[in-house]
């Protein structure tokens, strides 16, 4: 009995949310919208989880998938339901700062072209900065890890420049670069460069010397040892650096867009805030949350693929 209940919990929660939206009277404080987007969303969720719940009786894969997240999904839908009650239905919160879910979803759908342009422009900036930052980080990290001379000259630089949040450079960078794009890309690169460098060099310095000794008795020259022993052995550390760099790059991207750049999703949020269009602000935030979590998931997927060998060796 409880098993059946748990399997169908997301569906029950969704039906409840639909019932509340349909039968409860609106407080009337919120501006009316063209389409009941919240009901559409709930409808999609209902169809999807009903299908999964039925499939779970025949397919163990579907069952495992559902069992893992049923409670979380049901609770999330309940949360949306409560949010809907507090805003649209009862009007307990100031309508201007807390628009109805219908309105937020409506903006994502009706404004999708403009939002996509903003997202693409942010993406271009992020990837440009991230790419150069990561490459520079690897190069500096490898140089510092393997060369005493490089370590002597570069380490103090890392120690002084590294801890400064790259956003602190905005006043200087914005006037010294020809375009706001190149300036922002530089800031993002700087934000990625520091953690990647530090983790790469510390990874290399932590490689057991015996690996280098073994490889030298197997006939490996200096560069072969660097790239075929030192680099792969420090790969787990490098990924931690890249992960930290990714988080830092998101922060820098948003700050740069809110301060200087005249397009992108960060700029959109800031602009809509000034227009007091809070529904658009939430729409932008939701898109950012989805995009960034997809990017982080991708990074983890790459790591799992590159580091299959460390299963059971290192965990983080």
């Amino acid at each position: 009995m409880t098993n059946i209940l748990i399997t169908w919990l997301p569906v029950i929660s969704t039906v409840l949310a639909i019932a509340v939206d349909v039968f409860m009277i609106n407080a009337g404080k919120h501006t009316s919208i063209k389409q009941p987007y919240f009901i559409y969303l709930l409808g999609i969720i209902l169809v999807f989880f009903t299908a999964i719940a039925i499939a779970s009786y025949f397919n163990t894969k579907a069952k495992n998938w559902l069992d893992e997240r049923t409670l979380f999904v049901a609770a999330s839908i309940l949360f949306l339901n409560l949010l809907n009650i507090v805003t649209k239905k009862l009007g307990l919160l100031p309508a201007i700062y807390f628009p109805s879910l219908d309105k937020i979803l409506g903006i994502i759908i009706e404004d999708r072209e403009f939002l996509a342009i903003c997202l693409a422009s942010s993406g271009k900036l992020l990837f440009t900065g991230y790419f150069f930052g990561a490459i520079a980080g690897f190069a500096t990290g490898i140089a510092v890890g393997f060369s005493k001379g490089a370590a002597y000259w570069i380490n103090p630089l890392i120690r002084i420049l590294g801890p400064i949040p790259s956003t602190a450079w905005i006043p200087l960078v914005l006037i010294s670069f020809p375009t706001t794009f190149s300036a922002s890309a530089f800031l993002i690169a700087l934000a990625v460069w520091f953690p990647t460098t530090v983790m790469t060099s510390s990874g290399i310095l932590n490689v057991q010397n015996a690996y280098f000794e073994v490889s030298s008795t197997l006939g490996a020259g200096k560069y072969y040892q660097i790239f075929k022993v030192g680099v792969p052995a420090s790969m787990p550390h490098m990924f931690i650096g890249l992960f930290n760099g990714t988080c830092a790059s998101f922060i820098t991207l948003m700050t740069a867009e809110m301060l200087g750049v005249k397009n992108g999703i960060g700029w959109y949020i800031n602009w809509q805030k000034e227009m007091m269009a809070y529904a658009n602000v939430y729409a932008g935030l939701i898109l950012i949350a989805i995009t960034f979590s997809v990017l982080i998931t991708l990074l983890f997927k790459v790591r799992d693929h590159v580091l299959v060998w460390q299963k059971g060796v290192i965990k983080w």
Binding site: Q208, A210, Y211, E213, V214, S215, S216, T217, L218, G219, A220, G221, Y224, K228, V229, P232, A233, M235, L307, V308, W309, Q310, K311, G312, V313
Partner: protein, 259 residues
């Protein structure tokens, strides 16, 4: 035959902070014939591992010189393969790629691909080509480590307590395996060990070393044919000779009582 090692008056010191230098090796003279199986045995601190590292070229001597086939040893080379007690397999490479490492490093992999399979078969791991090191047992990992050194066709194979971390039964199997590989490949083998039985079982010659300062106390020829029985009288008498040199024989010749 190649793989003759000549050691002439080698001295090695290690400097220490706040203390006098430690003399790890004091005036070692030794000649190891091509194709010979030699064991270095002695208590810890006698310099046997240091001597092995000098032959490998991982460290330099302070005084004296080492030669392989008349050529001075100045740096590590694939001609002198090294196997540690810890297999030190590269964890990011599978068994096949670990064994292929030396060939790839020397850029001769393309023409010698078959060698990799041959040596993996030689150590009996044909079914584990694609396994990663963390999936192997200690004995299997040590076999891979042997194959990885052997694939380079070294003139000399240096073994630093290669079987020290294995359990007693795996260890005896691996000893037979070592002998089989040695007889097949005719490679000079120099092995550091703590185990007197292992030294006598495997070697043509056992070099007994003593510490403070590290020096060669005695060279003992083992003249038995192979395969050797671990319990024949000749074996046991060599064993007690070595233990006496190392002062581990004890002084009680006859038990006080029998149960």
């Amino acid at each position: 035959m190649v793989g003759e090692i000549t050691i002439e008056g080698v001295v090695k010191r290690f400097s220490q902070q706040n203390a006098d230098d430690v003399i790890a090796l004091s005036g070692i003279d030794l000649n190891i014939r091509a194709g010979e199986f030699v064991s270095l045995i002695g208590p810890s601190g006698c310099g046997k591992s240091t001597l092995l590292r000098l032959i490998a070229g991982l460290n330099g001597s302070d005084v004296g010189k080492l030669y392989i086939d008349g050529e001075e040893i100045s740096q590590p080379s694939y001609e002198r393969g090294l196997v540690f007690q810890n297999p030190m397999l590269f964890p990011w490479l599978n068994v096949h790629d670990n064994v292929a490492f030396g060939l790839r490093a020397r850029s001769i992999y393309k023409d010698n691909k078959a060698e990799v399979d041959k040596f993996i078969d030689l150590v009996g791991l044909a079914a584990f080509h694609k396994s990663y090191p963390h999936q192997l047992s200690g004995g299997m990992a040590q076999r891979v480590s042997l194959a990885r050194a052997l694939v380079n066709h070294p003139k000399v194979l240096l073994l630093d307590e290669p079987l020290g971390a294995l359990d007693a039964f795996t260890r005896m199997n691996m000893q037979d395996e070592l002998i089989r590989i040695w007889q097949e490949r005719q490679t000079t083998m120099i092995m550091v060990t703590h185990d007197v039985d292992e030294a006598i079982y495997l070697s043509d010659r056992v070099i007994v070393m003593t510490p403070r300062p590290g020096k060669i106390e005695k060279c003992i020829e083992v003249k038995q044919s192979r395969p050797r029985a671990r319990n024949n009288p000749e074996f046991l008498s060599l064993r007690s000779t070595i233990l006496e040199i190392l002062n581990f024989a004890g002084h009680v010749k006859e038990p006080n009582y029998y149960l």
